[in-house]
């Protein structure tokens, strides 16, 4: 049995009216790779805050580090006890060099006033050597890839005498190859006795190398499992507490002419030779890793970047889509992947967010806004998509992820599109809300909309789509009829291991 590095005992955290954590027991061994999984709001971020000392646990909780009970565990104590957190946004300084980003924390911690650039490079090199990586020390952080930025953040953590590194959603913006090298780093740290805790809201690659997995739900620890005992389905049940039956969607038999057709579409450095047809009432899935060209293809169909080669046909007519306005004119709608920054104007009202796409039609004969038309339009979409809001005036940011996504859907359905492109339609949305969104999408397809669903979650496309295109390195490597394949087979093509 390995020795315990950190354990939480009977840890609770109450905010006014909310129980974030309820008597959680949690333990990490020295040099262990541990996964902490749970849905949004399950309490996992509160756990990170307590472990990193940014929040204090309630009275009656206690924390032991290396077998000894600790009395005060503030942020600075956590750092001195060898705990480092790497946040999802990495918290780097984009305008400083890699070397400075790695080493500057140590200068601050030691209350040094003057920088010795040679010494600073030495510190950075030493940190890199600990995990056998090599980064361009004099490059600005904004100039290196996201994966390298993540390594910079890890190296920065390693300049302290670190025993546990907590990584919050580390793989969400990495390509497959980058994830692999990150996992190698974690394995490497393990051999040096440094424990790693991956925090995630879904099952992913890190599970392969994890020793144990802790699942939290509603502020309680559901259980701790050896990673070998878990699979996707089991984990979802543990995380949500429900036995989730993925129902398959079957589209209407459709022998019509296609609405949208792409023939040999290519764009330098993004995607190559893409051909497919899309019919009314169908949900076409596109899946692939980050950087496979899936989003870039969608952006071209929506008029943001023009393809270099190939044809797009709309109802059999060749079209050139030069701008978003062109795309909307044709009846193409696009729900972007990044809901917070691209999908919604977060601090403005739900109402304005819903009508922004159709506002030119909500005017009277003097071309002035018609209050009644606006109110009716907002009410209709709020009702049709069952968006739960206090009032149409509330800022969108006060809504839950699921309701926010409904607002995005509403604003696009309001344009009565022929083709709806959904990029990552349920990213960051809880499982229950996810299914509700899927229901809405299926319903739209049934009403005759042609839908393209882009997602990296294979179950999502497998269960909702009639056909799936798998993209890898910018090309469609295989088209599947979902009746004639399995999720595992799709997965192999996604990872390029076929």
């Amino acid at each position: 049995m390995a020795e315990s590095f950190l354990s939480l005992k009977q840890v609770s955290k109450h905010y006014v009216g909310v129980t974030a954590l309820d008597k959680v027991d949690f333990e990490i061994y020295q040099g262990e790779i541990h996964c902490l999984v749970g849905e949004n709001g399950s309490g996992k971020s509160t756990m990170i805050k307590i472990i990193s000392g940014t929040e204090e646990a309630d009275i009656g909780s206690w924390i032991e580090i290396e077998g000894k009970s600790v009395h005060s565990h503030k942020a600075i104590d956590a750092i001195n006890r060898g705990i480092q957190v790497i946040y999802q946004d990495l918290s780097l300084f984009p305008n400083l060099t890699v070397a400075e980003n790695i080493a500057i924390g140590q200068y601050v911690a030691n209350h040094q006033k003057i920088i010795n650039w040679k010494e600073l490079h030495q510190i950075a090199k030493k940190a890199m050597a600990r995990i056998n990586v090599s980064l361009p020390l004099d490059a600005l952080v904004s100039e290196v890839s996201i994966a390298d930025q993540q390594l910079v953040a890890i190296c920065r953590a390693l300049t302290h005498d670190v025993k546990l590194i907590i990584m919050d959603e580390p793989t969400s913006s990495l390509t497959k190859r980058e994830v692999d090298s990150l996992l190698n780093v974690a394995i490497d740290m393990k051999t040096k006795g440094i424990a790693t805790m991956f925090v995630s809201h879904k099952l992913n690659e890190v599970l392969q190398i994890a020793d144990r997995v802790s699942v939290v739900r509603d502020g309680r620890l559901v259980g701790v499992y050896p990673s070998t005992e878990l699979n996707d389905e089991k984990l979802t049940v543990l995380m949500t507490g429900k036995k989730v039956e993925y129902s398959r969607y079957v589209a209407r038999e459709n022998k019509n002419k296609p609405i949208l057709e792409c023939i040999g579409l290519s764009r330098q450095g993004e995607y190559k030779d893409i051909s497919f047809k899309l019919h009314a009432g169908e949900i076409l899935g596109i899946t692939g890793l980050l950087g496979s060209g899936r989003t870039e293809l969608a952006l071209s169909l929506f008029g943001i970047h023009q393809p270099d080669k190939g044809q797009i046909k709309f109802y059999g007519q060749e079209v050139v889509i030069k701008s978003i306005q062109d795309a909307m004119e044709l009846g193409i709608a696009y729900v972007p992947e990044d809901r917070i920054s691209e999908g919604l104007v977060n601090i403005q009202s739900v109402g304005d967010n819903i009508i922004i796409t159709t506002i030119d039609s909500l005017v009277n004969r003097f071309r002035l806004l018609d209050k009644n038309k606006i109110r009716n339009s907002i009410q209709k979409w709020v009702k049709d998509l069952s968006i739960r809001i206090p009032s149409a005036e509330s800022p969108v940011q006060t809504l839950s992820g699921g309701n926010q996504q409904r607002v995005v859907l509403a604003k696009w359905i309001a344009t009565s599109p022929k083709v709806l492109i959904l990029d990552g339609p349920t990213i960051g949305i809880d499982v229950a809300a996810k299914f509700a969104i899927h229901e809405i999408i299926r319903d739209l397809a049934q009403k005759g909309l042609a839908i393209i669903m882009i997602s990296e979650e294979i179950p999502e496309v497998f269960n909702n789509c009639n056909r799936i295109l798998v993209m890898h390195k910018g090309m469609v490597v295989r088209e599947f009829d979902t009746d004639l394949t399995s999720q595992d087979e799709i997965g192999n093509y996604v990872n390029g291991t076929y």
């Binding site: 400083l96 400075e100 040094q112 006033k113 450095g269 496979s292 390195k473």
Partner: protein
């Protein structure tokens, strides 16, 4: 080489060289030591203000009130010089003016940090407060007739040369003071944790908080430093013109900001360098001077400066756009 081409400073430097060559061809008087020493002296005021502004911009803020701070400091020392001038010396004058500048700058920092009021709003308000109150109290009177030692100091030269006509010229003590400030500022930004943490804070203030930087300390430092430069600038101004008028500086805020931006500092924070700032001020200085030497009417000065600023920011916007475009291209080997 590639690194050099990526730097804004390189382009400003090329512009400075090109303009210098053009001006020299048209009027060889430009590239004489006499003219250069004279230029260095007369632009040391803008140079001093610009250095203070650089620090504020790097940290992600902006200060509009520095001209009013300089006016308050300048007026105070002028009153002292006129009344108890014989008991003062130049060190005390700098010390008093600098302290007033630091105090008013610190007040800005407190308002900005404690009440989370955007720096541009805060300093527009304090500009009006400092300037308004000063003018009320002084009734807008001009002050002149300072002690002789004050005038003598202004004309002190570190070394003296003589022109063909026998006119003495040389490196002014005022220029030396300015160069000293430049070196101190360069050292602060390059070799101290404080300086680097200003860049860090301008780059990403949330990360700076998480990394344990003292945000209030940094804010207080930059606005106080700006205040100090305003105070020192006010003495330089008094030395240069031997007169203190309440309305001689206020209104020139934007010129200084323009010079610093020309030198590559960004209004969103996190970038800028002392060398760039000097080049920015230099560019403005040689253009003003060059137009005179090329016998272009002074009326055209603002037109040229305006065009240079628009071209400069246009080019850097274009380069930013291009590099952003490169970044979206994904990796698929």
């Amino acid at each position: 080489m590639k690194k050099l081409l990526n730097r804004h400073e390189t382009y400003v430097f090329i512009a400075v060289v090109v303009f210098s060559i053009i001006i020299t061809i048209i009027n060889p008087n430009f590239f004489t030591l006499e003219n250069l020493f004279d230029l260095l002296k007369s632009y040391s005021l803008m140079g001093t203000f610009a250095i203070g502004m650089l620090f504020v911009l790097i940290s992600g803020g902006i200060d509009i009130s520095f001209t009013a701070i300089a006016t308050v400091a300048g007026y105070t020392i002028a009153v002292l010089l006129l009344n108890v001038g014989d008991h003062l010396n130049i060190y005390m004058v700098f010390l008093i003016a600098g302290s007033i500048g630091i105090a008013l700058g610190f007040l800005n920092a407190v308002i900005i940090h404690v009440f989370r009021i955007p720096s541009i709003i805060t300093t527009i308000a304090t500009l009006n407060i400092f300037y308004g109150l000063l003018t009320v109290i002084t009734k807008g009177k001009w002050l002149y007739g300072f002690p002789t030692w004050f005038g003598d100091f202004a004309t002190t030269r570190v070394f003296t040369l003589y022109s063909a006509h026998g006119n003495p010229y040389g490196l002014s003590i005022i220029t030396v003071i300015w160069i000293g400030l430049v070196f101190i500022s360069w050292f602060l930004l390059r070799f101290t944790i404080l300086g680097r943490s200003l860049y860090a804070m301008g780059g990403n203030v949330n990360s700076a908080k998480r990394a344990g930087f003292n945000i209030f300390g940094n804010t207080a430092f930059v606005y106080s430093y700006m205040g100090l430069m305003a105070g020192i600038g006010s003495v330089i101004q008094a030395l240069l013109v031997q007169t203190v008028a309440p309305n001689s500086l206020v209104g020139k805020e934007m010129d200084v900001i323009a010079a610093v931006v020309l030198g590559g500092a960004s209004l969103t924070g996190g970038t800028g360098s002392v060398i760039g700032t000097i080049l920015g001020v230099t560019l403005i200085a040689i253009m003003g001077n060059g137009l005179t030497l090329m016998h272009v009417p002074a009326l055209w000065y603002k037109v040229v400066i305006g065009l240079v600023i628009l071209i400069s920011v246009g080019v850097s916007a274009y380069r930013r756009k291009m590099s952003a475009h490169k970044r979206v291209i994904i990796e698929n080997d």
